[in-house]
Symmetry: C2
Subunit: 465 residues, 2 copies
Amino acid sequence: MSDEFDAVVSQVRERVSPDDDERERLQRAAAAVMERARDAVATLPVEAEVVQVGSTARGTWTAGDRDVDVFVAFPPELDRAELETYGLEVGHAVLPDGHEEYAEHPYIVGEMDGYAVDLVPCYAVADATAIQSAVDRTPFHTRYLKSRLDDTLAGEVRVTKQFLKGIGVYGSDLRTQGFSGYLTELLTVEYGGFRAFVEAAAGWHPPATFDLEDHGTTEFDDPLVVVDPTDPERNVAAVCSAANIARLQHCARELVDEPRESLFEPSEPAAYDAERVTAAVERRATTPVTVRFARPDVVEDQLWPQLRKSLAGLTEELDRRGFDVFRSRAFAADGETGGDSETAGDAGHAVLLVELSVAERPAVERHEGPPVHVRDHATGFYETYADDPDVAGPYIEGDRYVVERPREFRTAAAFLDSDALLDVRLGPQVESALQEGYELLVGGDIAALADEFGVELADYFEPSP
Amino acid sequence: MSDEFDAVVSQVRERVSPDDDERERLQRAAAAVMERARDAVATLPVEAEVVQVGSTARGTWTAGDRDVDVFVAFPPELDRAELETYGLEVGHAVLPDGHEEYAEHPYIVGEMDGYAVDLVPCYAVADATAIQSAVDRTPFHTRYLKSRLDDTLAGEVRVTKQFLKGIGVYGSDLRTQGFSGYLTELLTVEYGGFRAFVEAAAGWHPPATFDLEDHGTTEFDDPLVVVDPTDPERNVAAVCSAANIARLQHCARELVDEPRESLFEPSEPAAYDAERVTAAVERRATTPVTVRFARPDVVEDQLWPQLRKSLAGLTEELDRRGFDVFRSRAFAADGETGGDSETAGDAGHAVLLVELSVAERPAVERHEGPPVHVRDHATGFYETYADDPDVAGPYIEGDRYVVERPREFRTAAAFLDSDALLDVRLGPQVESALQEGYELLVGGDIAALADEFGVELADYFEPSP
């Protein structure tokens, strides 16, 4: 088994290592970007340092990645408005065809010589605990890792990254909620290589805690805790979901038990067509309902937390109303990278899918009153309902009054079709989108989603770890 | 209001007080029973005291009651078998046409001069804490109350009894779970009269605790606690259900707010016929299911705890299986008073009615596995299901594996129609009866119960406090 594992890994390592030609071309491109950036900085009335960051700076990118990240570090005294102005000025000078994106402050994204370039202004703070903006940390991360990585370890990092990509947990964006590049590199450094990392991860008992500099000061309530070597109060793995950690553990065991290259290859299921969706709904005999609306035109990191929040709000409310949510999922068209002139319609749809166990509730619902001995409340309750011809009771159950009154919504569809939907806990842009209008699909009719979300539906109906 | 209250009570008092003629006839009948009992005791090789007990002994019976209770108190040294033999001997001598019933030991029930006579052997223990059998307490209760009751208070006791009968909470039998005669008399004595009792009960904050002799030594976990004046370790109100106490409080407020004689009159609703049952089921759009079986031929005090236990077991299991019990109720034909030759069929039916909110579940059910990090269990779970073609998953949710597998029973009827019904927590005689056979009715078909249980169904569908 040992030989098999090493054989698989060395195949992968070979495949994901950029060859000399790729390295050279990337270095050349990065150098050109930095050169232009320095020239642009020279025209500014302030000093600023141009630094290359990210995996291409550290030599840990996987073959074929074409991202160059360059930061312009301004003096910490500079006020934020000026930093933004100067940052954009440099960005536009370097990338005349680039466009603005916005995280904590705006930055420029563009292309040069076939490479995707991010040009980001930050503050050159004294250490990572003094940051003024989240991006200020990045140069510290790059410096920290550069000092610990050699060529061999960089190769191990590439294999780890490729594995996490293959099993679908790579990326600290809020859609994925997985492992960032920095986190991946720290774990590989901590374990000294891919194999030790995978074998250990297979046996983790969350919370799995790492503190490479042994300087952590804070308790974290996360299943994976990697104290930032450059900031003792930060958990590098804070964004990692419990499910992704479980997924890593599952796949680590699969790889150890039966090493195979397929685990390093991202794969998606064959899209379901309408017919297969209908068949799945019939087979399961559940009641799926979907709310389909125009995808809010916001970046993925804004959209996905809102979709999750909305789905949780909907699930909670449908459970409360007795429709017993079996499983649920949000789908959304991929976001445009920075397009700013699209209408919502062009951005495709977003969908909240809630699969219910209960199709229909009775015409009546129970409503428990106060204990009879709480005299004022109890009498008030009794008098409210005693002469109501639409109500059964009040009667006594245990020490309480109970009435049975007409139920507001007998089906989830009736609820979702009403204004009450907007009272559910929703993300703000999801709420606005729903106010603009939405389409309700029930049962087999959700087959209409297959055109846009066939892959997602396949994954939903045939779920794997 | 005060005048109205007193006017109503005095009407009731008048009505429930036996007139001189009734008193005299009852005393004569009781004297005759005691005379015959003493004669029979005289033929025995042991001494025994004949005592009259119960409300007719204490002068607190309500007009029309025709119960005479006579106890034969044997020396405590007598062994139990002899006590039973002698007791029955005396009983048969007094009541040649009587028959045996059985509580803790057998006793004789019969009729004399139009009075229902119980002739019960007991031990003449030194005090009520030294009892050898529950009935040994009764003479102490009678002595205690006799020493505290005068004619006026006996009149108040009668009104209290009539009120508790009127509102359906009188009787410490295990079907009613209400107020025993002894408890009723103690509470009336404690409050000094009916009105003070009712006004106080309207404002009770359970647990309502009374200790007339201020000698209680035990903590009771009951909503009403009346420490037995003859036994500091016993709660006279132990059998009283929370619902009956709430019912008393509700009706006490009704009487205080709007005094009326109807509250002193037991009433039952007009029986539902099949058509009304069908209409009720349609109106509610619930899914009632009933299990109808031959009423086990046991006394009510044995039957009702078993019916309740069985109903709770059924409710629990149907809830667990997702059918969401809306309300439930047991019905049973009245028990025969001591008939010992009936077959079960002659004793009518018993019914467990469970009204469900959920008619049907999906073809699939969720089955949560262990957290992925519990390696051995998790791997075992994964391997069990990974290649099962009938199962969706295993997939990961939170930190756990989950599978979706075929559901065993999609309807409550399918479950109730299967042997799995007998795995539910049932009373032993209910279980035996179900093993002999039962009939399942679903939805509108429960209208078939109207012939036997029309009143019960009316009360079920139009419940009042």
